[in-house]
């Protein structure tokens, strides 16, 4: 197990290298430069050239990449081309906000989806089950930005209960967290229900009942223990979904997290910020996937992690 974990963690390094390589290539291949964004007041060509020289953008791409790698290994991502601040500074400010939003949304979505999935499986074809199907269909098919706008309209504009955008106290957090949680919650509800129904039909459940166990014990220690294995494996992708989903949510609600920063930096061709945020996201997703694989091995004794 330890060996497996170490090997998986070491594999992050080459993956990060290729992520960096591809992203670097793409940013440089994309049209436009960081200094031609303001169409109303275009910079004189001489200034652009000076800026390019200052930030090393005039050098060959391979050389730029080598330079980037060398600095990145020392956690130096340079300074933003737009904001004149260190990239690590900017990210250090946005990351806690995004992390808080993500963790809140993950907890909320699990708190909704796991009980809802379990109950709708146990009371199959009941009103609760149909209600959860409706919730899941809505949550999964309507894009979050539509839901966000509907919710903003109801709770912020009409009822004036919550602020429209921004970030600060709890009131600001409610709408972005709910909207972000909805998609994963819908997805996990369906998976939980399906895998509960699958487990509950198994022969070993009949065996457990034939031992005289109480129904609660049968459900918790025999059915759920099996049913949670597939659920645990999708929490990884769901977390990745929360991370990428937060691009839109943060932009919509003007949440000062790295999701909004990421979108902004791409619009502005802010190369250093794009590189650093992409690598950070890649790292998160890989760690999430590794954690899921390890948890999978713990939950299911039939899986051997050594191989």
């Amino acid at each position: 197990m330890l060996q497996y974990t170490i090997r998986r963690l070491l594999l992050i390094i080459p993956t990060m290298f290729f992520v960096a390589l591809i992203t670097f290539g793409l940013t440089r291949a994309a049209p436009g430069s960081p200094f031609d964004r303001n169409e109303n007041r275009p910079l004189p060509q001489a200034t652009i050239d000076r800026l390019n020289r200052l930030y090393g953008i005039d050098r060959p791409v391979t050389e730029q990449f080598a330079l980037f790698l060398g600095n990145a290994l020392r956690f130096d991502f340079g300074s933003s081309l737009v904001k004149d601040r260190q990239v690590t500074d900017i990210i250090g400010q946005g990351l806690p906000v995004t992390a808080q939003l993500g963790v809140q949304a993950l907890i909320l979505s699990l708190a909704i989806s796991l009980p809802l999935g379990v109950i709708s499986a146990l009371k199959q074809n009941s009103m609760v089950d149909y209600g959860s199907l409706f919730f899941a269909t809505v949550g999964y098919t309507i894009p979050p930005f539509v839901i966000a706008i509907v919710l903003i309209f109801i709770f912020a504009v009409d009822l004036r209960l919550l602020p429209i955008v921004g970030w600060g106290d709890i009131k600001h957090m409610i709408l972005p967290t709910v909207v972000l949680a909805l998609g994963p919650a819908a997805f996990i509800t369906r998976i939980t229900r399906a895998s509960m129904l699958e487990a509950i039909r198994q022969d070993y459940v009949r065996t457990a009942r034939s031992k005289g166990l109480r129904e609660q014990v049968v459900i918790v220690s025999h059915v759920m223990k099996n049913a949670m294995i597939p659920v645990a494996t999708i929490i990884g992708p769901a977390t990745a979904g929360l991370i990428t989903g937060s691009f839109i949510i943060e932009t919509l609600f003007s949440v000062p997290g790295i999701g909004r920063l990421y979108v902004l930096s791409i619009n502005q061709s802010d190369y250093p910020v794009i590189m650093a945020t992409t690598l950070l996201y890649a790292f998160f997703i890989m760690v999430a996937n590794i954690s899921v694989d390890i948890v999978y091995g713990i939950l299911d004794p039939r899986i051997k992690l050594a191989h």
């Binding site: 198994q202 022969d203 070993y204 009949r206 065996t207 457990a208 009942r209 034939s210 031992k211 005289g212 166990l213 109480r214 220690s221 025999h222 223990k225 099996n226 294995i229 939950l299 299911d300 004794p301 039939r302």
Partner: protein, 374 residues
């Protein structure tokens, strides 16, 4: 001796979209403490449903026990509340299921699954239960039981898993074990080992057991009495020896004829029972075996025969057949030599030929069970 189990007129039905399936239709039998009983019949004749009904494990819906009584140790299981039934399950009545590959929980250790019942019914603490579990595993001949107790089911072979199921069934010293096709999923060589183990341990623990099988060969050496089931009813009851020597029901004759024999000429053809088992949504109005019976008379399709004592047989030998009952036309028939009316056999075959294509395809695809074999 007071009876341990007395089942009277048990009726279990399944309410499906196509209609009410009368899976068990008026089954009655008794079992004394320590006695062994075999229930034999084709797939779908209601034998497993009978066993599950005894423990009230019929999935509900769609199933429901609609009538009858199951008196176990002086108490009617069908009138108990759920807590009392749970106190009996695994404790006084234990069950061994058909497929050991799927009947154990894959994510719990072997010892946990056995200890669970010990902790629940015998109020043992974890350490005691673990110790007893290892003793039980040794009892069913699991090599290095102590080491293997913490293994998971996937680390055990099919035969070993069925041993674990037997250990689990014996764990609380039940008065009755229901073994539902315990060896059907196993290799023939392992079958014999498992059956021996079950028989010896039941004798040692003085446990009564009901062995449910489609295989007459399996019950032959295992149980004191045999009940033959057909179409949700018991059609013949006899001592094991008596049933093989002097069967009194054309269905049983058919079962015995379809067993390949070692002492027969190699070219001799097996005689299958022609036709399909009855549709339990709309069973035949008279004798349920009548449509497939080459000895049938007019009366068979008009009246339902009772399960009655048969002349020329042991006192507790009963069969559900107008032909072999007092005054019937089969009283003196020797089933080994007289295969009945050939015209009727042809008529049955012709009826099968006229069946709608669907039914024939079902038959061809093996939906009808293979004939019992030894």
């Amino acid at each position: 001796m007071p009876e341990l189990l007395e089942v009277k007129d048990l009726k279990t039905q399944f309410f499906t979209r196509d209609g009410v399936v009368k899976a068990v239709d008026g089954v009655s039998f008794q079992l004394a403490a320590g006695e062994t009983l075999g229930i034999v019949g084709e797939s779908g004749c209601g034998k497993s449903v009978t066993a599950l009904s005894l423990m009230r494990l019929i999935p509900q819906p769609p199933g429901k026990i609609v009538a009858g009584s199951i008196v176990f140790d002086g108490q009617d299981i069908l009138k108990m509340d759920d807590d009392d039934v749970r106190a009996i399950r695994g404790n006084n009545i234990a069950m061994i299921f058909q497929d050991p590959m799927t009947s154990l929980n894959p994510v719990l250790t072997i010892s946990r699954q056995i200890a669970e019942a010990l902790e629940l019914h015998l109020k043992m603490d974890r350490a005691e239960a673990k110790k007893r579990t290892i003793e039980l595993l040794e009892l069913v001949n699991i090599p290095s039981a102590k080491k293997r107790a913490d293994d998971y089911p996937h680390q055990f072979s099919g035969g070993m898993r069925q041993r674990v199921m037997i250990a689990m069934a014996l764990s609380c010293n039940p008065k009755l074990i229901l073994a539902d096709e315990p060896t059907t999923a196993l290799d023939v060589t392992i079958q014999a080992q498992i059956l021996d183990l079950l028989k010896n341990l039941a004798r040692e623990f003085r446990t009564a057991f009901i062995l449910i099988t489609h295989d007459l060969g399996v019950v032959a050496g295992m149980t004191q009495r045999i009940h033959v089931m057909y179409g949700g009813q018991i059609v013949e009851k006899a001592d094991t020896g008596e049933l093989f020597a002097n069967p009194k029901m054309p269905y049983t004759w058919g079962l015995l004829r379809s067993i390949p024999r070692l002492d027969e000429a190699r070219k001799a053809k097996l005689l299958p029972i022609e036709g399909l088992p009855p549709d339990l949504i709309a069973p035949p109005p008279g004798c349920r075996f009548e449509p497939r019976c080459q000895y049938r008379h007019e009366i068979c399709s008009q009246q339902v025969p009772e399960l009655k004592h048969i002349p020329n047989s042991k006192p507790d030998h009963e069969a559900r057949c107008f032909g072999t009952q007092e005054g019937g036309w089969l009283v003196n028939t020797d089933w080994r030599h007289d295969v009945g009316s050939l015209e009727q056999l042809e008529a049955i075959k012709a009826e099968i030929a006229d069946l709608p294509l669907e039914a024939k395809r079902a038959e061809a695809s093996g939906d009808t069970p293979p004939p019992p074999s030894v």
